[in-house]
Symmetry: C2
Subunit: 303 residues, 2 copies
């Protein structure tokens, strides 16, 4: 059997990718407490803000307030989504350590969502990439629909390689390969990850898996087998699935940590503190969290 | 990468192991319809009944009625749990094709649950094993707590090897290695399966995983990697977790099928029919099913 990585970085995306997809907007005060709880749990990287127009994404309107209010834990990188230069300027002013740009591996998704081709959408980020370099900010590129698309179905491997290459050429420090609709299974996952690794350094590729079909942990394990060592996850599974209401979305951080802990892989993150942070935000949202580990540990301690 | 098995047998345990652990008893009529829907979906093996004292397990009191009422699909094996000779006689009369005996890999669990040692508990099944052989019924042995125990915690590999050897000597045709509390992770799973395979033929070993900590599919994938080709699962995740109320129990059949379909592994089972059977029994129980695939497909078709 292959050796698995000894260390894994978990990028906690709950405060941004998670809460952005929740129906109810959460107050800046609650978001600040969530981010601070996550920092204290040990995450080295938290996606905390998105500087998009509040007309498009009202859930993220308080991003500047959140970034100003959080406690900056030394060593933790706070990331912000920046769709354009206006967003970049706001992220810079807010003290983000990393800015995130995005594109799709699916032409159909790109046209449907932002009304331009994949190549055009990446080219539009050139000014942001340049500005990030000039200001010494880290640049992350996120590739959606790398394993399948809600509009076109199959996504060819060459399309993944192409968009990863474009993001590399833009100067990305890290590139996320995302299963936006959660359709992948392990061998497909390995093929996509190995394709991405032919265009970009494997140690700076991350896997962003959704648990819509329950496959996320199997896909993460399969990714570990081919050497991927960065994963995205969302505390309490925050986020849901925008393509099937009532279905599961982002894989829950607690479940990923349990897997990694069981495999003897170091993350620097304390599971119980994440479970507590998940209980906190789930209570704020007035519902049961979507993490199986969270629910099992909370039930066990209650019982 | 290792080759995975090309064919997998799924043992559908929802009607017995699932419904037995549900708070509310389900009528014989509903159980019959559930079993018939599952047979038609293509399962070659369904755990349909348990001939235990109705004083202990009132949910299974109608087992004879269920076995008499179901449509026997040619090629499908209907299994029944038989704790003793009285249970065996009832299973034989009911036309079960396979009887299931059980033991634990954990001494603490054995003492706590049936007040005797593992060795004693297996020896007590000798008359059942002999009778099964005499009447040409298939014999299956189920090993609980093979990956961890709610009372003693860790379970040594030698204990798994020992109980598997005892069940082999009793004449079992198939042996289940069960993660009763859902605590395993992939590398542990592979070590336990490989230990069991040193005492019994790998092609007749099955994996019974619970999804309490969300690890079941990762564990199934890891089991496939070491050649395990029989898995238990429960439609709509019926069963819950008796050790942590509100937590997840049996892995959902729909999720396992999605994984196997994605890996190109043949099962002979039609996913959509299983999703429909899951929707049927979940409606009868008055709640949302616990299968992520089931919920995603139902949401997609509704949306």
């Amino acid at each position: 059997m292959n050796n698995l990585p000894q260390h894994v970085k978990i990028v906690e995306v709950g405060p941004r990718d998670g809460l952005q997809n929740e129906k109810e907007a959460v107050s800046a005060r609650v978001k600040i407490e969530l981010v601070d709880r996550l920092s204290r749990a040990g995450f080295m990287n938290i996606e905390a803000a998105s500087f998009v127009s509040p007309k498009w994404v009202p859930q993220m309107a308080t991003s500047a307030e959140v970034m100003a209010g959080i406690e900056r834990r030394p060593g933790t990188l706070y990331s912000a989504l920046t769709p354009n230069m206006q967003g970049f300027e706001a992220a810079l002013a807010a003290g983000a350590g990393e800015v995130v740009i995005f594109g799709s591996a699916s032409e159909a998704f790109s046209h449907k969502n932002i009304n331009c081709s994949i190549a055009e959408s990446i080219a539009r980020f050139e000014p942001v990439a340049r500005a990030a370099r000039e200001h010494g900010l880290r640049l992350r590129g996120s590739v959606s629909c790398a394993f399948g698309c809600p509009y076109q179905g199959e996504v060819p491997l060459e399309a993944v390689a192409d968009v990863v290459g474009r993001m590399r050429d833009l100067g990305c420090d890290e590139i996320d390969i995302a299963d936006t609709i959660g359709v992948s299974t392990p061998r497909k996952t390995q093929a996509v990850m190995q394709t991405a690794a032919r265009a970009f350094a494997l140690e700076r590729i991350s896997g962003h898996f959704h648990d819509t079909y329950g496959q996320a942990l199997a896909n993460i394990y399969a990714s570990l087998e081919v050497g991927v060592a960065i994963f995205h996850s969302s505390v309490a599974g925050l986020g849901g699935c925008p393509y099937a209401r009532g279905a599961t979305g982002n894989v829950a951080t607690e479940d990923v940590l349990y897997l990694l802990d069981g495999l003897g892989i170091q993350t620097g993150v304390d599971l119980q503190q994440v479970v507590d942070a998940g209980a906190f935000i789930s209570a704020q949202l007035g519902r049961k969290g979507a993490s199986r580990v969270g629910n099992a540990l909370l039930a066990k301690h209650a019982g």
